[in-house]
């Protein structure tokens, strides 16, 4: 039985690869030096949806809330086999905590409509909170299965899955619709499909089209006459849509989202302050990697009762 599925994805800075090159001289990290990537566990979530579609048929829509650059991740998802994309990108969504993010995504899922399963990665590698998945499920009022490693059975009405718990696992059965958060142990995400790459490379959001044409019309400031811009943009967008290469951008009004619950306004938590902690050397001793140096070290550790 074909299933209607949504996969929630996020573009994140590559926090797993903070090398010396990404560090400033004062010991802080240069965020802009970090490449933006597909959140790793969201790839596992997408892979799980694709496997379900392989076996049962259905349709996969990927949704992403993010800044304009995150369109890249939607293109990537389409190249891996997603059927459609929806991009929640608007100033009104910015500076959202997990609750405001979950609210907006819930509205996006409802716009897709009649969804049987929502897949999300367990957590994003920048915030590491693992909160958005459960909060979307909470906002939708549907069962959540977190830490899912494997789907064992799927019928029209129920899903049976293996989820990880502390020190082991559970086999659980949930009524559909349900939301799953997927862990990296679940699968090996498939690569982009060779045939789809050149096709979806051309996919654009309306904002990207407008931005590009604005730049062509007014190379100096990128702010041409609005009517002229609209005239030029319209046929390009129509052509992309006809070739199924248009990535829709949804503002709050497009998804029936209450502005007061989006973005900073909709975020109960706020950052009060940030301290830049520079790593300080305390009483630091360099030990030579020689037999002598190491014997001296072990002797000292024993003398000081650090080691028994």
């Amino acid at each position: 039985m074909p299933l209607n599925m949504v996969v929630l994805i996020k573009q994140v800075p590559d926090t797993k690869n903070i090398t010396a090159k990404a560090m400033n001289d004062d010991g802080t990290v240069n965020r802009s030096a970090l490449p933006a990537i597909f959140n790793p566990e969201d790839l596992n979530a997408l892979e799980m949806a694709l496997s379900v579609r392989d076996e049962h048929g259905g349709r996969i829509t990927v949704l992403c809330m993010g800044p304009p650059s995150a369109a890249e991740q939607l293109r990537d998802a389409l190249m891996r086999g997603a059927d459609a994309a929806g991009f929640l990108s608007d100033r009104a969504y910015a500076v959202a905590d997990t609750l405001a993010t979950a609210y907006a995504l819930k509205c996006g899922i409802e716009k897709v409509g009649d969804v049987d399963i929502v897949f999300a990665g367990r957590q994003a590698i920048d915030g590491d909170t693992a909160q958005v998945g459960p909060q979307v499920a909470g906002a939708m009022g549907i069962p959540q299965l977190t830490y899912v490693a494997e789907i064992l059975e799927l019928t029209d009405t129920h899903i049976t899955a293996r989820r990880l718990i502390e020190g082991g696992y559970e086999i659980v059965q949930a009524q559909l619709p349900a939301l799953l958060t997927v862990v990296d142990e679940a699968n090996e995400p498939r690569a982009r499909r060779a045939k789809l790459v050149p096709h979806y490379k051309q996919a654009r959001t309306t904002l990207e089209v407008a931005g590009q044409i604005a730049q062509e019309l007014d190379p100096e400031k990128g702010k041409p006459d609005k009517t002229l811009l609209a005239q030029r943009v319209e046929p390009v967008v129509a052509d992309l849509a006809a070739r199924k290469l248009l990535i829709p951008v949804w503002a709050p009004a497009d998804i029936g989202a209450d502005l007061a619950q989006c973005g900073k306004k909709g975020s109960p938590t706020q950052v009060k302050n940030i301290d830049f902690v520079t790593l300080v050397a305390t009483d630091h001793k360099t030990i030579e990697p020689t037999q002598e140096g190491i014997e001296g070290l072990m002797h000292e550790l024993i003398e000081d009762h650090v080691l028994d």
Partner: protein
């Protein structure tokens, strides 16, 4: 906003009757926070046939224990637990609610926060009470919960507040807060919670549950020898294990090593793993990211072995060896065997 008098509430996680260490640790922090607010400490425990757990929670610092005892709660499931916890919160009106950041806690806390439309901060490394002035409106807030946690990369420690929503919620990982000394002479109130569910108990069924006893005890170890990406393979971890065994310690790992599959997640040390405070922490082939540091920085002595002299870990290690762990560790084993 009218003052809430429900105190500081701790979700006491239990499995098979045993209360999770992290919940007991949270009780000691809850006591500090409650004292600062002039309020009491409460705990909520859900399960079936709960007999001695309420008394244990009182001994560990709870003044009030809400007990939800019902067959539908015998084993943790999101929907029935969320319903009961939300109802207790709505009735008791706590200022603050704390959860351990265990897999269950991370499943439950966000669901509860979403239901209550309030803020939740994950993996806090510190919590305290303080004042806050909104930078835009200039409104002053007194006695808010400072939810402190390292934020991604960049050596950033963020202080997060929830000024306009209640309760203020946070999750904390095991080992971050201190385990309290139980005091069996303490007294407290036990409040049974009536449990009435609609379909919450029916939507998800647990068909099978397989749980092994924890084999890794990082928190209690006096010596931790951790391997990072530099170990390169699971075979490489045998050398790390050998050093740990010789020194009477436990094996730890960085997230990179766990993600690469060299060793199990039970061994992970760091902000999203276990927090440890051993007398000696040996970091072999670990670069020393902020997230890893958060999990071991309070070790009495830190010894780092890395081939990269620029590795951030050398900035806060007490002893630094720039070298190959596959050469250095055997030398350490030899030297220790001769000296000890």
């Amino acid at each position: 906003m009218p003052k809430r008098t429900g105190g500081v509430l701790v979700f006491a996680e239990q499995d098979g009757g045993k209360i999770a260490d992290v919940s007991l640790e949270l009780l000691s922090k809850a006591r500090e926070l409650a004292d600062a607010l002039g309020q009491h400490v409460a705990a909520i425990v859900c399960g079936h046939t709960l007999a001695r757990q309420p008394a244990q929670l009182i001994a560990s610092g709870a003044d009030v224990v809400y007990v939800a005892d019902n067959p539908a709660l015998a084993v943790y499931r999101t929907l029935p637990y969320a319903r009961v916890v939300c109802e207790v919160i709505e009735g008791a009106a706590p200022e603050i609610v704390l959860f351990g950041a265990s897999p269950s806690g991370r499943d439950l806390a966000p669901r509860v926060a979403a239901r209550l439309r309030t803020g939740l901060t994950a993996d806090c490394t510190n919590l305290r009470i303080g004042d806050h002035t909104d930078p835009v409106s200039k409104t002053e807030y007194k006695d808010l919960l400072y939810q402190i946690r390292p934020a991604f990369g960049g050596n950033i420690i963020a202080t997060i507040v929830t000024p306009n929503h209640k309760p203020q919620m946070a999750t904390v990982r095991e080992g971050v807060m201190v385990m309290p000394e139980p005091d069996p002479t303490r007294t407290g109130e036990i409040v049974p919670v009536p449990v009435a569910l609609d379909d919450e108990g029916e939507l998800v069924k647990i068909l099978e549950r397989v749980k092994a006893e924890r084999t890794v005890n990082l928190k209690g170890a006096k010596v931790v020898v951790s391997g990072g990406a530099g170990v390169g393979s699971s075979e490489g971890f045998e050398l790390v294990r050998e050093l740990a065994d010789v020194l009477g310690g436990e094996v730890g790992a960085s997230r990179a090593a766990v993600d690469a599959g060299y060793i199990g997640r039970d061994h992970q040390v760091g902000q999203t793993g276990t927090t440890v405070r051993p007398k000696l922490y040996i970091a072999a082939g670990i670069s020393g990211s902020v997230q890893h540091r958060a999990g071991m920085v309070e070790s009495s002595k830190i010894l780092a072995i890395n081939t990269d002299p620029e590795a951030p870990i050398f900035a806060f290690a007490h002893y630094g060896i720039v070298g190959d762990l596959f050469e250095v560790i055997p030398m350490m084993i030899e030297a220790y065997k001769h000296k000890a």
